[in-house]
């Protein structure tokens, strides 16, 4: 094992050893067992600690960064964090050409936000027992798609919806797409400019609810709905060592799909596949545009693939989808950047990036016995680390000049896929 693997193993063992066998609750099995303790009962049991330790841990290394590093990235003056999700620091000139509305996924609801002001103008709740997983926009800035899965994931299904916005941003009801429910968990969604073609990626999840051990070998697929025909017209399966994609994009004319996944268990690659390609393994019909990207997005024309890549320092660069040649480096990003989603706006002039920064810098305060804190020893003295939940920032990057402008809204939590659409 490498040194890192040993560190992982030791850390896991130390944490796991905190579970002492003698304090584990006994299992209460009555002869006439009712169908399970309900989720509601479980929620009551955990009331007051919903925001769990894992989330807190996620916050730890991201504590300071959003305030300190983002202004440096943008070359502007430092802002200060706002307690609200949606702040108000618009730059009208920079934002005027952008889509009027941005939709944000909060899992249990979709917020419709005025891009220039950050004001929430509409909200759309997920159907009962479902959570939104990913969103996609079209050229109209009024028609959007969403994919949801069960929440909690009691079974492995994907549900596809369309919704529209009125002129003032109020959303319509969710309209189920005229396609069959699909087994698998959704990981990405994209739509062409017209909204007639919707591409998706689904990932097979572990099975066991029926008492059978999940043993499937097909890990998922990318598919394509033709909504005018009302059916799935293509499926390309993930094969061998590939991982599912979370950054699917499609050219405005619907002819080309772009995405990233793993190659030979070694590194990520950005790929394109013509939507006319026959069904089958995606590796067979796609070709690689760029290697080792973290995120990709196709240009509206499909001629370029934008990719964020790099291990030490990150860069957003454009690559030709025809030959993989790097056309231009648009923007360099600090190595501490964590990215979530890259979305090209329907005009093709700018891209929206969700991001935050992690930092190893710690903010400490004295430990007080009995007061909850994230404790650590510094030179033998117990200290607490200040926990600030991370926030996802949204910036736009001019795809001609590389100029970065912050959007006037944020989202609680670390950056994630599927959170935003134009």
């Amino acid at each position: 094992m490498s040194r890192l693997e040993v560190r992982v193993q030791e850390a896991c063992r130390e944490a796991a050893d905190t579970v002492r066998p003698e304090v584990i609750r006994s299992l209460d099995l009555e002869p006439d067992q009712r169908p399970a303790r309900t989720r509601q009962a479980a929620a009551t049991h955990r009331r007051g600690r919903v925001l769990g330790p894992l989330a807190a841990a996620a916050a730890v290394a991201i504590v300071v960064a959003g305030v300190v590093v983002l202004p440096r990235l943008m070359g502007g003056t430092p802002g200060h964090p706002n307690r609200q999700t949606h702040t108000s620091t618009p730059k009208p000139n920079a934002l005027a050409a952008l889509p009027k509305f941005t939709v944000l996924n909060n899992t249990n609801a979709i917020d419709v936000v005025t891009t220039a002001t950050g004001r929430i103008v509409g909200q759309l709740h997920a159907p009962a027992r479902q959570g939104f997983a990913a969103l996609a926009g079209t050229a109209s800035d009024r028609t959007f798609f969403a994919v949801a899965d069960l929440n909690p994931q009691t079974s492995c299904q994907s549900f596809f919806y369309r919704f529209t916005l009125s002129a003032d941003g109020r959303p319509s009801a969710l309209i189920p797409l005229p396609v069959r429910r699909l087994p698998g968990l959704p990981t990405a969604l994209a739509a062409d400019a017209s909204g007639n073609l919707v591409a998706f990626s689904i990932d097979q999840c572990a099975t066991g609810a029926s008492g059978h051990i999940g043993n499937g070998q097909a890990i998922g697929n990318i598919g394509l709905f033709d909504l005018t025909a009302g059916r799935t017209i293509r499926r390309w399966t993930y094969t061998l060592g590939e991982d599912y994609t979370t950054d699917l994009s499609i050219s405005a004319d619907g002819r080309l799909l772009g995405y990233s996944n793993f190659l030979d268990a070694k590194y990520m690659v950005g790929r394109v596949i013509p939507t006319s390609a026959p069904p089958g393994p995606d590796e067979r019909y796609s070709h690689i545009v760029t290697r080792r990207p973290m995120l990709t997005a196709l240009s509206t024309s499909g001629r370029l693939m934008y990719a964020i890549s790099g291990t030490r320092d990150l860069a957003l660069a454009a690559y030709s989808t025809a030959n993989g040649q790097q056309v231009k480096v648009l923007r360099r990003l600090p190595a501490s950047t964590e990215t979530g989603v890259l979305v090209v706006d329907p005009t093709g002039r700018s891209a929206l990036l969700s991001m935050t920064h992690f930092s190893t810098r710690k903010r400490l305060y004295p430990y007080v016995k009995g007061r909850p804190c994230l404790a650590l020893r510094v030179h033998g003295i117990l200290k607490c680390e200040r926990i600030t939940p991370p926030q996802t920032h949204f910036v736009i990057i001019d795809l001609t000049t590389g100029k970065v402008t912050a959007l006037p809204f944020r989202q609680h939590g670390p950056p994630s896929w599927g959170v935003v659409a134009w």
């Binding site: 490498s2 905190t18 841990a57 959570g131 070998q217 190893t360 609680h412």
Partner: protein, 178 residues
């Protein structure tokens, strides 16, 4: 008469369902709670997940057709249950709720080593499946084929996911990449 163990290949006829599941719980609950703890972060939630898994086993007992794979069944249920907990928490970011100290804090009693705490914090930031693979491989010490069975993916996917996770982790804990 020696009761047949729950792991016997055929359905145990000589012990009641409750006894069989209870015996499995006695043998495997601690290990499964520890796996769940590494996925969800705190013991209370981890115990909930494991209880749900055993209750699911109890309910599905009459329909099970391969009693040699009960532990595998439970691992799958624990992984799925942990995903459900994490999904619920994702929504809870919007709520101003105090949380229990994480397992690697002093109040939760235990992690003396800051370096290890950092590794776990970095693991907590990994995507769900990457975290699952690391826990199952380096804590549960399952073979890649067993992990593949638990997660319902191919062995190649396990290898690629682990590689990807270690690569990201190396960057975050400033370890030299593999």
């Amino acid at each position: 008469m020696t009761p047949r163990t729950p792991e016997a290949a055929a359905a145990p006829q000589h012990v009641s369902r409750a006894d069989a599941v209870g015996e499995l719980y006695r043998r495997h609950a601690v290990g499964l709670v520890r796996i769940a703890l590494l996925l969800v972060g705190d013991q209370a939630s981890a115990e909930d997940v494991v209880h749900e898994a055993f209750l699911g086993l109890y309910r599905n007992w009459p329909t099970l057709n391969d009693y040699s794979r009960l532990v595998g069944y439970l691992r799958v249920a624990v992984v799925n249950g942990s995903r459900g907990v994490l999904r619920a928490r994702k929504r809870a970011w919007l709520l101003p709720v105090r949380h229990d100290p994480p397992v690697w804090s002093a109040e939760a009693a235990a992690m003396a080593t800051e370096e290890r705490r950092e590794v776990l914090a970095a693991m907590a930031r990994l995507p769900r499946r990457q975290r699952e693979v690391l826990v199952l491989r380096y804590y549960a010490e399952l073979a890649d084929t067993e992990i593949a069975s638990v997660l319902g993916v191919s062995r190649g996917t396990v290898v690629s996911t682990a590689s990807r996770a270690l690569s990201v982790l190396a960057r975050q804990v400033q370890e030299e990449e593999l």
